[in-house]
Symmetry: D4
Subunit: 216 residues, 8 copies
């Protein structure tokens, strides 16, 4: 793999294995990297693989599967988490945010964490959140995924004591400026102690949750 320098010690240093970010790699590089990581770690995950390239990748890698919503490809089996493993709640403001939430869910599952999804709870119908807040409170970490004005993490953060990770998405148009509005909103939240990831970075939010859960 002359185009890449594998990082085999990442698992021991950081507590999670390398994952392939597919977006700006060639298909050949993606296949090489997934195969190399699976050889080292027994299984591998790739994120942001566009649907029109997925068939070529899965055909080249027996045992791999691709999910078109989350745009993730995985290779090898992930053992089911033990019972009573603390879960991560992933809350979505709208249907259009599902791909980012799906990326977070796929990454957490790959790392062995149970995930609970709460979809389409945007603040314009705040009762939908109140109806489910007690369920949400059962999880140990909450990831909130929202585009447009990105207000949902502020309300959620004000109702919960646990770690809340806010993920802005590029859902919206006009003055959303591809997710900038949601990003700025989350960074300026009046709810204290939220932290924020890059726009559309469901993967990063999952790793942040893993850093919290893996180390306690």
């Amino acid at each position: 793999m002359p185009h890449s320098t594998l990082d085999p010690s990442r698992l021991s240093r950081q507590g999670f294995p390398e994952v392939v970010f597919c977006e700006s790699k060639t298909t050949a590089q993606i296949i090489d990297n997934l195969r190399g990581l699976a050889a080292a770690n027994g299984r591998a995950l790739g994120t942001r693989l566009q649907p029109d390239r997925a068939d070529e990748v899965t055909a080249a890698l027996p045992g791999s599967s691709y999910d078109p919503i989350s745009r993730c490809v995985s290779l090898g089996d992930t053992p089911a988490p033990a019972e009573n493993t603390p879960s991560v709640a992933i809350i979505c403001a709208g249907t259009s945010d599902l791909p980012v939430a799906g990326e977070a869910a796929a990454t957490l599952s790959f790392l062995g964490h149970p995930v609970r999804n709460f979809n389409d709870l945007g603040v314009a119908g705040i009762h939908r959140l109140h109806d489910r807040i007690d369920e949400i409170r059962q999880s140990s970490v909450v990831i909130v995924v929202a585009g447009m004005e990105g207000a949902l993490p502020s309300v959620v953060g004000g109702l919960l004591a646990c770690p809340v990770i806010a993920v802005p998405t590029s859902v919206g148009y006009g003055a959303s400026f591809q997710g900038l509005a949601a990003l700025l909103g989350m960074l300026n939240s009046c709810a204290s102690g939220l932290t924020v990831t890059n726009i559309d970075n469901g993967f990063g939010a999952a790793i942040a949750a893993h850093r919290i859960l893996h180390n306690r």
Copy 2:
């Protein structure tokens, strides 16, 4: 007044008299303009008069008064509104938003509309809003003033059917970029049918409310 061209027909054309925006005028221009408008309309209002220039203005204009929170100067008396006049609710996300809310309130009062203030109802403690939403619903128009992430109008807009005017403020720091975060948040609200004014433009929100109430 060679520096200004009075617009005496504004009251008949637009339904409200000219108001003096003091910020980038000289003190002499402010005094001239207020005196000229009071001569034409019986009374006059000035907005955004910084406290350090207020004494000079009020000294030159007998019968004028200045409020340091809203930074408004008024000249002449405003008659009390008739009973049962529809009111405007002004909701504030935080204590720091009070100057902008005050400017809206002063303008509405000058135009004869009753105002009801609801302070410090930011979304991080969403129960504070729920506790008062029935009171708020009594008003015919709602102005929501918020800085930081500007999420409050989205929640309010989702709970009410009346016109909701969102006013972003420059309250915040860092990535609030002097109110840009709140402005973008309000423009991208997931609550439908909100409209938005310029950052810190309490005056404009009041006139927008007046346009609604004056014409029905």
Copy 3:
């Protein structure tokens, strides 16, 4: 509909039913949502449905129709408004702004409001506006749709006393920055009491007009 959380109380809370924003949903989600809303409310509206997906949607939903200018799909019949119902004037600066104006018109019609259209009245030929201002004045609310420098709402707002809702469009090129120039222009209007929606948000302007007309 596991991907969406319907909001059946929106009509009672906000005075208008949920509408499907089609842009970032899959075709299957759009069809599901329109069918679900029509089941609840008798009819349904979808906005921002790109022409290349319209056939699939209308084929799946008998009784639906699609308009390629406004990019709206509607399902079910809207009763004609009663005579003397107050109307909304929609003024367009240029021919290229028609899709956004059309979205506003389709939404208002869906909600039962008569609409009067005034096309191509940009300020570079200001006499075109003067020729029609008396007609415009017959409406109770005015929506002004403009791209490029977005100057038209300022002139209109200075001539009328009624509520004026300004909608910036992404029409333009270069330093229009996809509608940012028009948006900033409208937010900074020297005509007092204008309010502004997101870029290209004809739907939002219609709902704002509905909030005004529905509640008086």
Copy 4:
């Protein structure tokens, strides 16, 4: 003058002499440069000299005078223009734009052009412009100075056939972003053939007018 490299051939190359931009120079550099230019050209002009430094400059340069509105200092006498010299009209949207209009006027006068001022003709009261448009049409070049949304040049440009130079100003607040809104508005004008200068650049507009008048 080791800190500066005089450009004595500018008058012959470009048709106008060097002028001192005072803003980011030390007071000693300003005095040196004005004295040097007056020695070469008989008279000299400095722009953007803040009031608190003016006394020191005029005290050091006998025969100089300072105008606090335009913030210009001039040294030496300018002969009156010949009768029938074509004039430049300078139109101002608001009282707060006077300093920039004044800088343009002072520069044009220094270069021998008659100037006619039209103040406070913003588009929110469009009749004020219509009342004076025939007067404005007498001039050979028109400079339009406006802050906030900067809409005035579009309307003026649509009414006149002569060259129209648009000067955005930093007047405004919030989303005016120190004149950016006016600048973008003017660059995107729907009136064809306007040209634009930097924000607050009254001097540049005057030189542009001079380039037009001087060469025909």
Copy 5:
């Protein structure tokens, strides 16, 4: 033409006829508008017509022709300018700027002005400009078209006394931000009295030149 409001008095008001901006219109609207303007004025011009739509337009309009470099379509014949008519020089910084320069040239020719082209004279090889500056000086107005850092107008403006109109182009990549770098560079030119148009606005520069030449 219900989608457009013709402006037949533009020629008398502004000295040039309406021109069709094709970019965001449908092909049917373009054909309608060109035909309507040709009926009124004897000939018509359209700008920014993408090559893939040109055949349909020229097929529908006998006597029309299309130039793929300048992306202009013209309908009807333009009489040759009289001898000794003052010319406009159009200077291009690089080969990639030719489409914008071509749009300016096509517009000027349509309006009866002789044009002289000077291509690929960017400042990185400043001798190329010096070699031709005397030729350039023969023209009465100079249009300078440049992308990337947009430095050429500053150098040209420092060498000439005539009106200089600077047109930034979107040529470049990375931190050119689609022409923003060139636009800002031209607005901040150290050469006095340049004026600037929108990014890629060759048409606007031509009309500005026409305003200068037509009125002297």
Copy 6:
């Protein structure tokens, strides 16, 4: 306190008491709020109190103290944490980042968490970080505070498995754009699972750490 709506249930809802953000409040409001919170919770903390207002606040509130580096004021005593309480490491890229790091430290101490400070470990001298990384690894959560290019969290995040919270600061000049460069850098970190707060938001980082530690 008519200007504020206290939130007494915050401690039970979110696990930490309300803290006074002093920056855009009047001195009277600050004193009122601190006194009110101390009455409710036994002690109180205020952040972002500028030094020139500190004396007035501490004089009005016996038992309060002010630290000019972190700009925090505290009222009432905080009990020392129990032995073996997990600590938070706060790493600073440069001396100029100390105020933000100090705000995080003061907030964590107020909430009962031991803090370990690591100052001036910027990546330009990467050995300084390597020398101390084993010490840093003893803490359960790491906060990394950096201005300029904000690269330090990426390196730290690549070396550690625990939660890493990145705080951009406004330290820098020119193209740092008041912390924007550091903020963007941290959001785009190639080290997975970092989360980010607003620029200069040491308080928010401390609350985020508290949310992690308090709930495990």
Copy 7:
């Protein structure tokens, strides 16, 4: 070549021949320019030639070859550098940065400089850099290519004494804003004496290295 003005003296003036930037030129212009330069200099190089146009170019120019990774086309043979010629190290943060690094390498090779490539050494696995730093130190100039947060040049610059040229790439998503984050990061580096090129400008970095090596 009427569309271009060749610059045959560039080699003597600047020490390197003209190179064809292909991105916004027509295929015919590219072929013309490459052929013209090869006629003058014996060989020629073109950068940023998209793969879908490469076949047409190489077919038209016998002796030319195209590399799809670096997107460079070369015409004519480059002699191998003499032994002991100082080399340039090109360090890449990630696999996705290879096209930009390849453009730098192709340009340097064309100019006769030995190149040594170090791929995928991003700071999230800092040991990968430490493992190879002694090798890197053998080169006389170092080019560091990185997208996302662009932190690698800061670390490299802190470890080396030689000239370090930082090249931001557009690799990333969301708040990378097409390379803006990396660009700002590199401009604000805490490692002193780095210099920076435009985003994705591998060619420019190579010429900068050539300017250093060619002149000592």
Copy 8:
């Protein structure tokens, strides 16, 4: 010095000693750091020390001196460079750029490099540059300092073969956006192989020149 972590190996690692950036440090920190570095290296340099704090610093440090133009403080004596040491040319576009040029000169002198200054050679009077280009060509490295549109480096870079380092300054107003226009201009230069530093970063340019000269 608990607030700072000295980096004593910087001289051996990078070839130049640590320098104190004074802007966001307290006066006590500045004095401590300068004293500490002088103890280690025999002499020390501080940059960006504002004039109003200089007296306190020089009073505390016998043998120190302060220059108010470059805002640099130095402690200890610098030996004169050997004869025939290659020099650095520093070219300034305007008088207002002198502070940044001075910072570069002071840093280079501190490091033992002869400096030659060329002031006020902006491109609006391009002959001033041509008059001195042969002198400039005698230096081995050229630093070009310019604000406003920042065009000077493009012209210089096109005339010279040696390394050219471009330094944008914050000189300008309006759309210069505190140096952004100059920065973008330099990054997009059509002259190949320029490299760029942060806005106003004369120090960084000097270190970059030192990296070139020190290592050949």
